[in-house]
């Protein structure tokens, strides 16, 4: 595999929160267009790992490369490397004082320099894609959780990212809304975009993932294709985890 096919690469990455060693010797290569699902018990470092990719967290040593560009260790200023990375948060994080449309066009206008017309055209197109074009002039608090998360996905896509990060996108949703959000993400997975998804939705993982990553205690314990991963986990820790979340 040549370097030009790599979207994200972790080389011996370590990170501490004060005394807490949250990421331990992380090594991971993610190819362009690959769909990765990261799972593991809470506190295992999944979110932190993903947040290192777009500099929401800094790492103390090792190297992270995004589209061939090195993420600076101690700084959160990596705008060049981060500009190709979109993110969807567990808590949606829509801008509550702006309408759906304003949420979508803010980034494209201010950061990409699009005109209002261009940005709006793009926003409307993406709202169709997440199947809520009729909500364009509503405020976030007028929408259901599932609708808000779909707006958040559209907002990230408006920046036309090459890599999309999903940090537990359905964990804050009521059960009946999980499907509508996952449908949108699965739909998105049909395309060439690189996706890294932290989730416990194993049905989704089976459908959409090219590769599974299992983390525990700050380490990547196991990686593998979904078939092997679910049928035949290699480590005891992973087996136990899968039993726990799949027993219901």
């Amino acid at each position: 595999m040549t370097n030009t096919n790599i979207a994200v690469e972790f080389k011996d990455v370590n990170k501490w929160f004060d005394d807490f060693h949250v990421l331990k010797d992380i090594n991971l290569k993610i190819s362009i267009g690959e769909k990765i699902v990261i799972c593991g018990p809470s506190g295992s470092g999944k979110s932190t790992l993903v947040r290192c990719i777009n500099s929401l967290e800094t790492h103390e040593n090792g190297a992270i490369l995004v589209n061939g560009k090195t993420i600076e260790k101690t700084s959160k200023n990596n705008q060049k490397a981060n500009s190709d990375v979109g993110m969807v948060f567990q808590q949606f994080n829509l801008f509550p004082h702006l309408t759906v449309k304003e949420n979508l066009i803010l980034g494209p206008m201010k950061a990409l320099g699009l005109t209002k017309n261009e940005a709006e055209t793009r926003a409307i197109k993406l709202l169709h894609r997440v199947k809520i074009p009729e909500q364009v002039d509503k405020y976030p608090n007028q929408l259901s959780g599932g609708q808000q998360q779909r707006v958040a996905i559209a907002r990230a896509l408006c920046m036309e990212p090459k890599i999309m990060l999903f940090d537990e996108p359905t964990s804050a949703l009521d059960p009946e809304m999980i499907a509508e959000v996952l449908d949108v993400i699965i739909d998105l997975a049909q395309e060439g975009i690189t996706m890294i998804v932290v989730t416990h939705e194993m049905g989704f993982a089976k459908k959409a993932a090219d590769r599974m990553v299992f983390m525990d205690d700050g380490k990547i314990v196991e990686t593998g294709n979904p078939e092997g991963f679910f049928e035949n986990p290699k480590t005891e820790r992973c087996k136990l985890f899968l039993e726990q979340i799949l027993q219901h």
Binding site: Q79, S83, F95
Partner: protein, 270 residues
């Protein structure tokens, strides 16, 4: 949208509104209470039906414009300086944070009156020693001193407001490519402003009242004019009663303006 739930602030405002009428009436009763021994009250000094009384009233009331202009200018400057001080005060970097902290702690510790004396009588000495012969104008001297003195408080209000906005907002703004200033301008400050409008308005009323100190450096605002009439007429009770009433009216007008603004900006909602 559904009916807005009554907040504590709204209930409190209702109370004040109710009390306002009571308050004004009681002041009027007090003023009209000339049943004290003869010679206690001498309303002739501000009796508009006599020439002398009318002249005194005109002289006293014309202080409104100076008090208002001084307060508004000081408030605008304070809001700008406060933001400039508050933003670096929230930096991750200690070296950037430090000057902001020092400014706030120092300015907050100095009482307004000594600061006014220092600016008006002390600063010209320094300017002179530097070869600058700039006289300190009472109006600008007072406005800038008031603004600086107030800005330390405004800065802390900004900090509280900005820090009350969830971290996720900043993170989301970053992931759609906004830089620090764009994040502040389009995402954080519009949300923070709604929350800090009530304490900022409070601070404005405080400035209006503190502007009375400008009288000691010769600024002809409400208090200075009252002092001048008292000195010539020897009627402190009537003149200062009127002076208090003047501030009361001014602050009540400002309060109702603030309530209107809060409703418009949705600060009265949760």
């Amino acid at each position: 949208m559904q009916a807005v739930p009554r907040t504590n602030i709204a209930t409190l405002m209702d109370f004040i509104l109710k009390y306002k009428t009571f308050f004004i009436i009681s002041v009027l009763v007090l003023l009209a209470g000339c049943s004290s021994p003869p010679g206690t009250w001498g309303w002739y000094v501000i009796d508009p039906t006599t020439k002398g009384g009318w002249n005194n009233i005109k002289f006293l009331l014309s202080g409104f414009s100076a008090t208002i202009m001084l307060s508004v200018l000081a408030a605008i400057l304070s809001i700008i300086i406060g933001l400039v001080v508050a933003l670096p005060g929230m930096s991750q970097n200690r070296l950037i944070r430090l000057p902001s902290r020092i400014y706030i702690e120092f300015i907050r510790a100095v009482p307004l009156l000594p600061m006014l004396f220092w600016v008006f009588y002390g600063l010209p000495v320094i300017l002179k020693s530097l070869g600058l012969n700039i006289p300190i104008d009472p109006f600008w001297g007072a406005a800038i001193t008031l603004a600086i003195s107030d800005s330390a408080f405004t800065a802390e209000i900004y900090r509280a407001g900005i820090q009350s906005i969830e971290k996720g907002q900043t993170e989301a703004a970053r992931t759609v490519g906004l830089n620090y200033f764009q994040t502040m301008r389009y995402v954080i400050l519009p949300q923070a402003l709604r929350r800090i409008l009530p304490p900022l308005a409070n601070q404005f009323i405080y400035i209006v009242k503190m502007s009375a100190f400008a009288s000691v450096i010769g600024m002809q605002e409400l208090t200075r004019r009252a002092n001048e009439v008292v000195v010539s007429e020897y009627r402190p009770l009537e003149i200062y009663s009127l002076l208090i009433l003047e501030y009361l009216v001014l602050v009540l007008i400002i309060s109702s303006g603030i309530r209107w603004l809060e409703r418009r900006m949705g600060s009265d909602q949760r």
